[in-house]
């Protein structure tokens, strides 16, 4: 783990010496996020989002635990206890708005984190395991967020739960029994609300566990970097502390400014008004939409409007929606270009900025819009592109692309020259 030039932890006083002998926790921190962890010196602000994601996970757990002290997971009173938190619990409104907007910010930073990984091909060897664990975290986040949105027991909570669990009903033969089993009944009610609350409390701690694995796996090869050229020598790196603690500190300040602007001045801007109406199984909302962070995947689900051969449209939509995230699991083996960074891949870069990003934007807009034309048609084209991009374009581009010349090392990219490169110590193309 880590590079040979990593500084070793040296306890200075009796207490740290005692701890280092019995339980080397300070050593662990020193080697993980301290001066003992060398990091590429050229990381841009796009490398801030991992730390920010960890921060928002903590925000969610802290606010969530406090909310759980005042909330009751019972279909009779869930909506009322949510309002009780908003009105009668001291600073309850702040806890709830921080939790609701904290979920949104968690997803914002995770999406930026994922797109950074896609542009710089952070999923490529030797970092496949980090990427795979990241996809697992993302799936767990989606499940947690979905179940959390059900808890206030508003109209969108109820109908969202009904639609999403209904997806399992699309599975042939066993679908209906599975749906009933998941809900503990034929429609979302007390049984569903209770188990969603239980799992919503549990899963964040599972996420925290996978985050530890994610960071562990990261510390074996070390961070990727904007050139995609691996670290070669000590001059390519800087110790995490104080350089990246300072940089992450500034990034955290910006994120908190945006976060609290939303919490205090626009707390309901990302929510749906219908969720301030208590759940009513007899009244269907005009447009059932999930929270904004699910819109691209909801658009893929709804893009399949026609049966195809033996497949009903609904089943196709469900397969495509889950498939759209599951393809990320095989990404390291699809994109075999030896160059990591999009900066040196002219063809990949074009498909990324003019293909994938516009397709995601279209899917996002269509997922939040009612299921009407032209949104459905737009989402169908974008869905087709989405799958072509990951499953067809990436493998082919990786084969045919002629990449631009890479710098010899990170040092050369940052400082303009690297003594070792000048001496001709190693002139093979650096990867």
């Amino acid at each position: 783990m880590s590079f040979p030039w990593a500084k070793e932890y040296a306890p200075t006083n009796g207490v740290t010496k005692f701890l280092d002998e019995k339980l080397p926790l300070p050593r662990l921190v020193y080697n993980a996020v301290g001066a003992g962890y060398p990091v590429p010196r050229n990381l841009s602000y796009f490398w801030n989002f991992g730390v920010l994601a960890g921060f928002f996970l903590v925000v969610q757990i802290v606010t969530g635990v406090v909310l759980a002290m005042h909330y009751a997971a019972n279909a009779q009173v869930a909506f009322a206890t949510t309002e009780h938190i908003m009105r009668d619990v001291n600073w309850g409104w702040m806890m709830r708005y921080a939790h609701a907007n904290g979920a949104s910010f968690f997803f914002i930073v995770i999406y930026l984190h994922i797109f950074r990984g896609l542009f710089y091909s952070s999923y490529k060897a030797p970092r496949e395991m980090i990427w795979l664990l990241g996809v697992v975290i993302f799936l767990l986040m989606m499940a947690t967020a979905f179940m959390g949105y059900v808890l206030p027991w508003g109209q969108m909570s109820f109908w969202g739960a009904k639609v999403i669990t209904g997806l399992f009903g699309a599975i042939p033969v066993v679908g209906e029994p599975i749906q009933v089993w998941l809900l503990g009944g034929f429609a979302p009610d007390n049984a569903a609300l209770n188990r969603f609350f239980s799992l919503h409390f549990l899963l964040p701690f599972v996420i925290a566990g996978v985050v530890i694995l994610h960071i562990w796996a990261l510390h074996i090869p070390g961070s990727s970097n904007p050139t995609g050229v691996e670290v070669k020598s000590e001059s390519d790196t800087l110790p995490f502390h104080p350089y990246y603690t300072a940089k992450d500190g500034f990034g955290l300040g910006i994120a908190l400014l945006l976060f609290f602007t939303m919490v205090f001045f626009l707390p309901n801007a990302l929510g749906h008004p219908d969720n301030y109406i208590e759940a009513n199984p007899l009244s269907t909302p005009a447009h059932i939409v999930p929270e904004w962070y699910f819109w691209p995947f909801y658009a893929i689900l709804r893009a399949f409007t026609v049966d195809f051969l033996f497949f009903p449209a609904k089943l196709l939509g469900v397969i495509a929606m889950f498939g759209s995230i599951l393809v990320w699991f095989i990404l390291p083996w699809l994109d075999k270009s030896p160059v990591r960074s999009g900066h040196y891949r002219p063809l990949f870069r074009k498909f990324f900025w003019f293909g994938l990003i516009p397709a995601m934007v279209v899917l996002f807009i269509c997922g939040g819009a009612p299921a009407e034309e032209p949104y459905v048609m737009l989402s169908q084209i974008a869905t087709a592109y989405y799958f072509l991009h990951f499953l067809v374009i990436l493998p082919i581009v990786g084969q045919i692309e002629k990449s631009e010349p890479l710098p010899y090392s990170i040092t050369e990219a940052v400082l303009g020259s690297d003594k070792k490169a000048v001496l001709g110590e190693n002139t093979t193309p650096a990867v």
Partner: protein
Amino acid sequence: MTKLLSIRLVAILVGLGFALIALYSFVLGAYAWMTEEPAGHLPYEEPRDIAFSFDGPFGKWDIQQLQRGFKVYDEVCAACHSLKFVAFRDLEQLGYDEGQVKAFAASKQVPGIDPNTGEATTRPGLPTDYFPDPYPNNVAAAAANNNAIPPDLSLMTKARGDGVNYVASLLSGYSEPTAELLAEHPEAAPGPGLYHNPYFPNLNLAMAPPLTTTGQVTYDDGTEATVEQMSTDVAAFLAWTAEPTMVQRKQTGWPVLIFLLFATVLAYLSKQQIWAAAKPKKD
């Protein structure tokens, strides 16, 4: 190598499959879109933009307005609409003193139990009681209102898009459907027991116009109670019932943001200072 190649070959085939099926849906959808008449929406109006004292990041309640709106709710809306998340004690936030709140609570009958017989009965309200429901249950509410249950108003302004403006616009927006509208959308004509309102999404509302004449409510502060004024005031009151902590929220926000701005500038400066040591030296 051949194994990896085969993973990619399978991926390409699967990707083409998904894309083709999505495009198949697209082609059939596009054909239907071009050949079929689109289902038109009824042309309802967006709420008017009304200036409220609590708008914007510095907004504050206008206590006089909230008291006027409360009176409109109490004398007009409360006949049919509950306000179940608001307690009488909350009225102290509207500038009423303890005695006034007690007196108001006592003027309302809330469900209770006869201490001698245990029978269900009613008793005068206490400040800790919540606003009583005008109907004993939903069935009674539906029976009394042509099968349309009057919704609880506690959260109304948060439960509609642009809620405060919507409530004010709707209450003062009742009108007769225009001839052009009926010519273009004959289905927009109000059915029996329904009333035309251009701000309501399907244009036909089961609620009869509740505010109809100037002076319907007598304001204690001498403000002229026009329909417009009463609608605006009760919308403001409902903004308060929906989020009594709104002004506290905004007022808490400023010190938090100012502190964070300060801390972020400091974080930036320390980051600059620390990184100065690692910046490329020009020689």
